[in-house]
Amino acid sequence: MAFFDRANSIAKPGFNRWLVPPAALCIHLCIGEAYAFSVFTKPMAQAIGVTAPLSGVDWSVPQLGWIFSLAIAILGLSAAFGGKWVERAGPRAAMFFAASCFSLGLIVAALGVNWHLLGLVYLGYGVIGGCGLGIGYISPVSTLIKWFPDRPGLATGTAIMGFGGGALIGAPLSVLLMKHFANANGTGVAQTMAVLAVLYFIWMCVGSVIVRLPPDGWRPTGYVPPTASQAMITNKNVVLESALRTPQFYLLWAVLCLNVTAGIGVLGQASLMIQEMFGVTAIAAAGFVGLLSIFNMGGRIFWASLSDFIGRKMTYAIFFILGAVLYFLVPTFGHMHALALFVLAFLVILSMYGGGFATIPAYLRDLYGTVNVGAIHGALLTAWSVAGVAGPVLVNYIREYQIDHGVAKADAYSITMYIMAALLVVGLLCNLAVRPVHERHHLEEQPVTT
């Protein structure tokens, strides 16, 4: 197993650092399949009935909804608790572990579907697969930051773009496979999951083989590291334990949580929302969701790269101000029946949702240095777990409450949009409160900052 040792993954002379982003994409494009899990919901809800759900026997949609929520919750927890191990073991071992967990999770879930045991599906996709998601998500981040000290936003944005893009591959691929395997006796979900497990394992292992760490002291040609800390960018390092004692960590936790809450709730309800507000067909609504996915992916690389030039704090300020204005205007666009403006507003909002994920590692690197950035990023991802539950619950329950109190379906989202705008204003205040980390938290013996 020496192949997986951290020491054996250090780059040899002649290595091109631009090989590291595709290695990271091998992982993120696979684990990003989680965003496409909803394509399994309908066929799993009629796994026994095949052509229609068999009442009292087949699983209900809310029961199946917990699979994704559980996976996201475990993602945050495993990233938080596994971050230190990822730093210690290195990216190659971490990526291989993620590949093993994610694929094993799919196999166990496939068995659960085949034997119609929901607990086994929760264990497989939710718990085992969720560990693969969490470790896989953080595994390439600190390595990329070390290879690209001159463009950390671009580097992490490229990798995290993959998590947004995973659904674009996972959804049509799963649909194709289910069509192939479906017959009179089954919907083909179990076979599809098993095939995906094998394909994703191979794809992720390629990333694990390609990835390399830079040698100590390496820096890009022509790059001169700053000799003194700039206003919001430190050249010092802070370890995880110290970072957890700084107010900046909790402010950034709130920043990520609020940005994700505002986006994720809408992402889950986008199809229903556009149908109820504008009366478009289900097929057109699916097209809208597809567009959102593309902007969710594109926003990750666009905003994170832009943050290299305008700074992380300014980038998040744009997210919160522009996001709040757009959420505030969405009900008005609905009343005006301005479909194009409505679509445009949500495309921008979703680009900023993705941008928030992709910019946060570089923000952490600016504040805490590079030594423990992977572990600190992992701990911060618990904000995603909370937002992953809070966002959809907020949108769903407020909508239900309004409809129960006689509000027309087309108008049932207005209050939710105003609440989202208010959440983003709170996020803006948290972001404005972020200051450089006090020097008492800095490591005394400074490791070489690449």
């Binding site: 002649g14 290695a23 674009l168 996972g170 959804a171 049509p172 002291g217 040609t221 097929i283 097209g287």
Partner: protein, 45 residues
């Protein structure tokens, strides 16, 4: 430091590897984006 930079100058074989690695991730992603855009166009029909 300059010597380390010199050693890490990308070799020809790593350039081939680079092209292959980007194709490995780029082709499936391009397929996924193309399929999604095809479906998204239905929104405007």
């Amino acid at each position: 430091m300059d010597r380390l930079e010199e050693q890490m100058r990308p070799s020809d074989s790593s350039t081939t590897m680079l092209v292959l690695a980007w194709l490995w991730v780029g082709i499936p992603l391009a397929w996924g984006v193309a399929v999604t855009i095809q479906n998204a166009l239905k929104l405007f029909e």
